[in-house]
Symmetry: D2
Subunit: 410 residues, 4 copies
């Protein structure tokens, strides 16, 4: 169990932190100040990319702080999960950093899908521009009308018709769909309902402008629209594509989804550690700086105990994530199934609680946009549902825990 980041990882971390301090934090402060002004809410340009972000992206790419998530040296820097973890944590401190470094969901997951399962043509057409940050993408899996935690519920279809595939159905929580650079969607649908439950689905690459693809509406989470990418409800009506748009061939959708979700969950959790650290910092600073009843807030009631509990919770969560990263690096996803579900349960809940504590110490300001806490809470809360709700992951952990006892009892 060696979680020590390599010297290469440490070096990236130093440069990343320096970049964050020098470049990202000032822009983020300006971004928050704009929110403070209330200017943001009704602005006409909410679904466009600020030139500041584009400038930072260019700068990050030039600095080689780009695609750090990509485990292949040809396409990124080839870091292991343990090496990437502290970098993802550092990015997770900021709402804009992951995009700046081209390490944001859902693009990272989509690039990984293309990397692992895409044909050479698919890689060239979609993965390369994604890696270069020239285009962005969306992932269309969850559906509004069924409990999507159970893949067998999926109603959308991807039916073969000669050498074409025809898509129908309705998806939502398609993150990034409103982004002006979004050019491709990965769509999951049922191809062969009679096949084994793990062999029914296909994943299809859908150019954003294909006829029949329609963004019905953009969805808020707790009132936030996460512009400019947002989360959309998208209908697919007789969307017709060449069969070559299917990733890895028909029937492999479930397998690809599993492969995609694993690292995605780990990256979410790595970033949430940073988010929670940021919230704890804000809580400490507020608690020390504000005074009531003649004392700094932090010396009132149970506030010091809350700070301590947050520190303990973050530290435990970080170690659990690092351990999972190490398992993935050394033994692969097969040995890490329980660990991935464990962090998916533990980390977002921890982050939600730490942020809630920080909000409380900030009073009303904590619920406004004067601090990044309301947004942070929403992120953590949403991830308790995204990529499988807590309850499903607890089920996975329990199943693996109980397996030997069930075996023994047989």
């Amino acid at each position: 169990m060696d979680f020590t980041p390599s010297s290469r990882s440490r070096e990236y971390l130093e440069r990343l932190q320096e970049f964050m301090r020098a470049e990202v934090e000032p822009v983020e402060a300006a971004y928050l100040a704009a929110l403070r002004e209330g200017a943001d809410d009704n602005r006409a340009d909410r679904w466009t990319v600020s030139p500041e972000i584009r400038r930072l992206q260019e700068k990050a790419r030039d600095a080689g702080l780009w695609n750090l998530f990509m485990p292949d040296e040809t396409y990124g820097v080839g870091l292991s999960n343990v090496e990437y973890a502290p970098l993802a944590e550092a990015m997770g401190r900021s709402a804009i950093a992951p995009v700046v470094f081209n390490c944001a969901a859902p693009d990272t997951g989509n690039m990984e899908v293309l990397y692992h399962y895409g044909s050479e043509e698919q890689r060239q057409r979609w993965m390369v521009p994604l890696l270069e940050g020239r285009i962005r993408s969306a992932f269309c899996m969850t559906e509004p009308d069924v409990a999507s935690s159970d893949a067998t519920n999926m109603a959308a279809t991807a039916v073969l018709d000669g050498d074409e595939v025809v898509l129908n159905g309705r998806k939502w929580w398609s993150t990034g769909i409103a982004h002006p650079d979004c050019e491709v969607l990965i769509f999951m649908g049922v191809t062969d309902p009679g096949a084994h439950r793990y062999l029914r689905h296909s994943m299809v690459l859908v150019p954003r402008d294909t006829p029949g693809v329609r963004v019905e509406r953009m969805l808020p989470t707790m009132g936030f629209y996460d512009e400019p990418g947002g989360h959309g409800e998208v209908s697919f009506t007789d969307v017709r594509l060449p069969a070559s748009a299917i990733i890895a061939g028909p029937g492999r959708g479930f397998e690809i989804a599993q492969g995609r979700l694993g690292p995605g969950r780990v990256h979410h959790c790595m970033r949430l550690i940073g988010l929670a650290e940021r919230a704890l910092e804000l809580a400490c600073r507020r608690g020390v700086g504000r005074t009531a009843f003649g004392k700094p807030l932090v010396n009132l009631g149970g506030n010091r105990e809350r700070i301590a509990d947050a520190r303990i919770a973050i530290q435990q969560a970080r170690l659990l994530v690092l351990h999972t990263a190490w398992l993935l690096d050394t033994e692969g996803i097969g040995a890490a199934l329980s660990a991935v579900s464990q962090i998916k349960v533990a980390v977002p809940t921890m982050a939600q609680q730490v942020v809630d504590m920080a909000i409380q110490l900030h009073g009303g300001a904590g619920l406004s946009n004067d601090f990044p806490l309301a947004g942070a809470w929403t992120t953590a809360r949403a991830i308790r549902l995204a990529d499988g709700p807590d309850e499903v992951h607890r089920g996975v952990v329990a199943r693996l825990e109980l397996a030997p006892y069930l075996e023994e009892a047989r």
Copy 2:
């Protein structure tokens, strides 16, 4: 301890519930549908009142379902707290109902201030139009730059100058300030910083259009702006008014604030019981109606236990609120100090947890505006801070609990 609502209260409840079913729920559904369309977010008319609401208000007034909160028969129907509790609960189920029945914060609290402390002239000028629903009001107490849970921190001033009073300072979380009908603000400021800590402040009635009053910006809570009233940050710069605008005379601001906040807290808690009941209903309906892994959601994992825990938590909270109402009715605020703080701690936290559970059962839909859950969570969370954060109220409960032991130990 008799919490039985009177026959009059039961009769009002029946009529209120019927009105809710027949009139409010359809409008609310349309309102939610508009939100679903995503049309709401950028609409030009967000700070205006929908004609539907005005129509419902008129209908409610005609039906005598109006000012039910007002404990004086001359001005309202003269219900006791125990009698009003089930009515407030019924209104709390809906985000729009309190306004429909003219029972919404901050107007209720402001009307009560005027009722208890206002001069006849102040009552005629402001209270009567408020009771008639012709105007609305805001309450300006909390300040952005200090921990406002400690009133001695207040920086805003209300300085006497001859027969005038001059207001300066910055307030925020001034609820209702953006409402087009908002015509009066109640402002609290320091008049005599050298006086006893409970005799320093004054409350001043400020016409909305007085020179020097400026809404700096509107504040979101978790991304929600609570249109059309909203919550504003308001600056007061040399706002000059006749000294007769001071409520009950200089130096009585603290006393009035205490008097205002008590019933306000109780009303918040009564409504939150209804909010939590609504969330539990939605959770049950969703849990029964959606299927995953071959079972209704409610039969998966610990979901039934969550339903049970929610029921138990709501029922305990309701009884605590009723008991507090009964104490207020029979023994007055002096005997109910601990009880009021107890419900202020227990009820919003309970509501927050029940709504969070309901969100989880709804998946992503629970975080969107397709259900009233995201808004409900925000309401409950905000009330954990409004009118004094949990921690301050825990302090009150502990102080009163420990008093006899400290006496004994002396």
Copy 3:
């Protein structure tokens, strides 16, 4: 919802409290002092009744503070549940009081069984001496080898053989079995395994000295043996009795068990409120009286918040119990099924937490016998399992909550 105790109940309460102060508390203090000496642990006479207790019982009976639980005026004082609740709470403050006033489990439940279901002969032979405190009894239902929360698991048998009934099986947690005055056991066993699941069992009155009844061992809970009654594991081997020993006839065991457990659960919960109040008192007194780091303990860290949370939790639990008592009085057990299960979940858990908090404030002393806290914790913890574990009662609450939605969904 009128929880006001009647004037009769208030009068009993005053006398009871006076008796507690004057008679019970000194004896209890001496009892605790003996435990402090460590004399208790190895004493030869642990399964005998102290003469002090016998003296107090006599005094209580003479004072008319006797059988207060009994809802029939012929046999007791005929108090309703709402009237009895404050009396039970007062008794629950002390580990010895319920016995002093002849209101202790399992005798109360057994007397109620005999009262409701016993023949005149059974009442005369067993109920009357129990009411007089001349004998004591045990209840033999739970079995060591099966999950007894599911009655259909029951393995013990009560087989009819001519005009006799023959008992076989093994029971445990038979409370009171070691008491020197224990003269009768109520045994539950399967009579007709082919009958409907609710019509299979019989309840049989077994004289303690019947051949084939054998106490295999006494069981500790958390190291406590609860002398002199204790909890036993009891084997029944071909125990042969006249069929007239069956209560209410063969096949009614399940019905009687349900009838018996309801009030038993309510009484447990009433007493636990008193137990928690006692623990909170001890916590306050300790927190005020001990000093560390220059402050009374109660002013350190989150201790005041803990005191407040305990007060809020107790008050909510008390109201839930009173509401349940009121439901039982006014609408009967049928309308109170969910309420009874609700208190069974909420109250012991609350008491366990409050006592745990009090233990923590007492340091090591809290875990010793210098304070009644270790025993109190054990009582609360055990009741989370006794009469159905929390999980089963959550299941009942959820089933009743969901019933209308399931109906609606049909």
Copy 4:
């Protein structure tokens, strides 16, 4: 952050586990069976050592599984904290294992005190026989009459009188004092009340049979006496010893206490991980093996989620302990102050909760001595108080967390 145990550690672990399986578990099973019989409670020989334990100790020593805690190769095997952690965890699974391998509190802590601070003569006289398991020891620090979490409260005195030191005072929770082999006590008292608060105390080695040392009584924790060592209340009346009995000279008591408690806390936590694992195993086995309502218990309600939560909690706690061990090994106690307090808060609470869950799944059996759960709960609960209550350690964590912010705010 490399928590990988060395090959030496892994080899020890294998041998230890084999020894546990082959030797300890059968003896422990017999020990539990004796408890089941109820024979234990009144036995005359409760304060004696069973010959079985002596036999196992001999066998363990012969096998080289002895003094594994001792970080010095001359006296033990010289393992680092990271190397020792898995061994301590393995021992922690059993109530008797730590004694079998001569790795039990309070002897380990006392040996470490002598190792780090003892004179050569003190080491020869006391440490060597302790290392050989020929004698045992007690540690007398906590006092009944003051809040001992604050060392400045200490009332006991160790006054210099010429070349002698005279001890007076009353201590309690002196673990091991009743053990027939207990030959030495380490006593802490105030020598110079006028000195700096960290320089007032002395630690004195007191032969058990010194005149004036009197065991006043043995203390139970939750009804358990932890025979044969137990926990005693001990009075010291004019206990006179040569000044050479002072460890490291007068005034160094506080320093030694700090040095002693650090590793002690870490060892407690390491063992508690094993305890919690054992409880989870028992819960899984029971949950799979028992049936109610037609299903194994584990498939009822939220039980699977409970199993998952326990697994997640244990894994997080284990990693936090390993990280602390690694910090101690690589950077020393100075860098690990917060980490040691973090595990002291997190691990016993986690263990208490996991054991409580396991008890609940066992029904009444979980509270009896039929399973080691009641004892395990008591151990975890007691450690939340021993070596500083949770609240004090939260205070340490918060102080270190807030230090930079306070610095910054200055």
